[in-house]
């Protein structure tokens, strides 16, 4: 390895070092009026994306009202997780659609 190359690697590693808890994107699919998976685990700072494959509009609404995302037909909606906790959520338009999000620190 040339010194220049080693330097680059060092910089790259340094870069990684400074982004310790790299935020992840977690996908939940909405299809045929169901959230899949029905329970996901994430960390504070992660982003949850709901991909709506239905021709209907849906929402992902926390039962404690912390967040409420309206997801148009064939579109995606997302929320950045700011708080730890267990969040039960549902679709306001179809209240029998229910799922859970577990957020850890």
């Amino acid at each position: 390895m040339t010194p220049g190359r080693a330097g680059l690697v060092a910089v790259a590693l340094l870069g990684l070092w400074f982004v310790p808890a790299h935020a992840e994107t977690i996908h939940v699919t909405i299809e045929n009026l169901e959230f899949t998976p029905t329970e996901v685990t994430a960390k504070v700072g992660d982003v949850v994306v709901w991909d709506n494959k239905d021709f209907l509009a849906h929402t992902a609404t926390a039962t404690n009202n912390d967040w409420n995302v309206v997801i148009s037909p064939k579109q995606a909606g997302k929320v950045e997780l700011k708080k730890a906790g267990t969040f039960d959520y549902f679709c306001r338009f179809h209240p029998n659609m229910k799922a859970r999000l577990v957020v850890t620190q």
């Binding site: 009026l33 021709f55 338009f93 209240p95 029998n96 659609m97």
Partner: protein, 174 residues
Amino acid sequence: MFAKAITALAALCLLSGGALAQGGAKPTDPQIAHIAYTADQLDIEAAKQALEKSKNKDVRAFAEDMVRDHTAVNKQALDLVKKLKVTPENNDTSKALTKQAADKRAELAKLSGAAFDKAYITNEVAYHKTVNSALENTLIPSASNGELKNLLQTGLKIFQGHEQHAEHVASELK
């Protein structure tokens, strides 16, 4: 309550027997498409009446959901019949449903406030029950085209949700 049960029962018999009564034949795909579209359209009209008359937050939210979902389902249905080159065919079941809905609208037009809200939601529960059993017992088993059958199955799932939603709103009104 009794009158309601009778109405629901009558519609059910109509749907399960009406179109079938003629020679015992199953409804054809063009007839099924017409019945499904009509049933959707009638629920949109009922919801529009509720949006004009009701001031109750939950009732209005429910009615908005009905307009949104039934419009989306009907758009899918129209796209599908176009793709399949099927012309929906009017039939006795569609006609009976339309007449029954017109009578119900006239009855509800005379009510206001809490009485309207209760009557509207009660009818929505009964209506979705009727349509769902017609879908389950007659329309889905009779549909011969696979895509039409799929759409009806999706419709059933959506409308079962509506039925539960309506029941929930009804219980909150009491």
